[in-house]
């Protein structure tokens, strides 16, 4: 039999390559392995490599005024590890009440490799759009948290209207939001997210997509 260390590394790889999907919690036996991955140097290195690829791609492009990189927020630009380390690294079922309480504190730190890349993309002249599944009532706290974490500028910050029935899941919500952006004349050059639901679906324009590591949870 495989050790949990080996088995959970395979599990994590399979999540990143989208071979495992729709999981509600991580396997019990993977809590320790996930904790070690997140707090060790591999997670940050993995984040660095993906962000570097996005930057290498971006710097070879000629920049036009409406060229946009779309970033997600939780687990992509703002770290929610402070929350998940108190909740078993994904072994507990998602609790929206507790998570909202945490979000409303506005204390999420930046994911450092994403922040570096964000600053480089801004320097190259790209516009940044944050597209998040957070609901509109979190607008003020999200703006404040982004600034506090070092993200000082953006073209748009798009949060979710909880009344909007046209969005049964994150894929369709984000697809609809991108469609609107394209109609407004934005040219989506890249999409950076920690969930496959950030990166799949329609209306991606001519973009390349970049999947940041997230072994803690899956959003449909």
């Amino acid at each position: 039999a495989r050790t949990p260390e080996v088995k959970c590394a395979s599990w994590r790889l399979a999540v990143e390559a989208h071979n495992i999907f729709g999981f509600e919690t991580i396997p019990e036996e993977c809590v320790e392995a996930t904790k070690e991955y997140i707090h060790g140097e591999q997670y940050r290195s993995d984040s660095k490599t993906v962000n570097q690829q996005a930057y290498f791609y971006a710097r070879d492009l000629e920049v036009h005024p409406k060229d946009t990189f779309v970033f997600s927020i939780d687990g992509t630009v703002l770290s929610n590890i402070p929350y998940y380390k108190k909740h078993g690294y994904g072994v507990e079922k998602f609790n929206s009440t507790l998570y909202d309480e945490w979000v409303n504190k506005g204390n999420a730190p930046a994911l450092p490799e994403t922040l570096k890349n964000y600053n480089k993309l801004v320097s190259l002249g790209f516009k940044i759009i944050f597209l998040s599944g957070r609901t509109l009532d979190k607008q003020a706290v999200t703006e404040a948290n982004l600034k506090k974490a070092g993200y000082h500028t953006w073209e748009k910050l798009i949060l979710k209207d909880p009344q909007d029935p046209s969005t049964p899941n994150a894929v369709s919500y984000k697809t609809a939001a991108r469609e609107k952006l394209i109609r407004q004349g934005y040219n989506i050059v890249g999409i950076i997210g920690d969930q496959w639901s950030d990166l799949l679906g329609g209306h991606r324009g001519e973009s390349r997509t970049f999947k940041l590591p997230n072994p803690l949870y899956y959003i449909q």
């Binding site: 495989r2 080996v6 088995k7 590394a9 395979s10 599990w11 790889l13 399979a14 990143e16 390559a17 989208h18 071979n19 495992i20 140097e41 591999q42 290195s45 993995d46 660095k48 490599t49 993906v50 690829q53 970049f210 999947k211 590591p213």
Partner: protein
């Protein structure tokens, strides 16, 4: 500064998640970590987990007589590690002449976790189609090699007509899948070690499964 071990693990992950594309060779500093990965237990475990996911998915389906699973061949069902271990685990640029010589020996072993899964899918009643970028002149050696490695039955073995003009593997495999759909097959799953096996058109209602391959990239 990241150690080569850490950096190359990130390279490998980024290849699997399709963040790194179209590389012609692996980084020099990643030869040793790639060798350790391939020959250690992690590669086989990674292969097992992906094949298990495919089986879990398949085992919950009602099987119809025209339901197929499509497999790639090289490094999906047949291992080419015996070749790549003599060629720097992907650090050397691809040499078609040498690779063809190796293929023509017909000695490639099975990837053991794929073989297990193949047998289980057959038991469930699925038909198997092998769809490979190998050329038609390799038909006899490929059939013999598959059987020797333990893959004894298949619905179709599709190799590439060298006269067929397709710009890359992605469009070739899309075109072949279109043929299969037109012939009335229902593509239930696609299993491959390259993203070009799994992306593109005419995938039907299939789920796709990406097996690990840190050594090369086929466009």
């Amino acid at each position: 500064e990241r150690s080569s071990e850490v950096k190359c693990a990130s390279f490998r992950l980024a290849v699997e998640a399709h963040n790194i594309r179209a590389f012609k060779t692996i980084p020099e500093e990643c030869v040793e970590p790639t060798k350790d990965y391939i020959n250690g237990e992690q590669f086989r475990s990674d292969s097992k987990t992906v094949n298990q996911q495919a089986f879990f998915y398949a085992s919950e389906r009602e099987v119809h007589h025209n339901d197929i699973f499509i497999f790639g061949i090289d490094n999906t069902v047949l291992s080419n590690i015996p070749y790549y271990e003599k060629h720097g685990y992907g650090v050397e640029e691809f040499n078609e002449t040498l690779y063809d010589e190796w293929v023509n020996k017909g000695d490639a072993p099975a990837l053991p976790e794929t073989l297990k899964n193949y047998n289980k899918l057959l038991s469930l009643g699925f038909k198997i189609v092998f769809l490979s970028g190998r050329y038609l002149d390799k038909m006899a050696v490929t059939e013999a090699n598959l059987k020797k490695a333990g893959f004894h039955t298949w619905e179709q073995l599709i190799l590439k007509d060298p006269h067929l003009i397709t710009p890359n593997a992605l469009s070739y495999k899309s075109a072949m899948r279109e043929n299969l759909l037109r012939q009335g097959y229902r593509i239930v799953g696609i299993i491959g070690d390259q993203w070009s096996d799994l992306l593109g058109d005419h995938r039907g209602e299939s789920r796709t499964f990406k097996l690990p391959n840190p050594m090369y990239y086929i466009e």
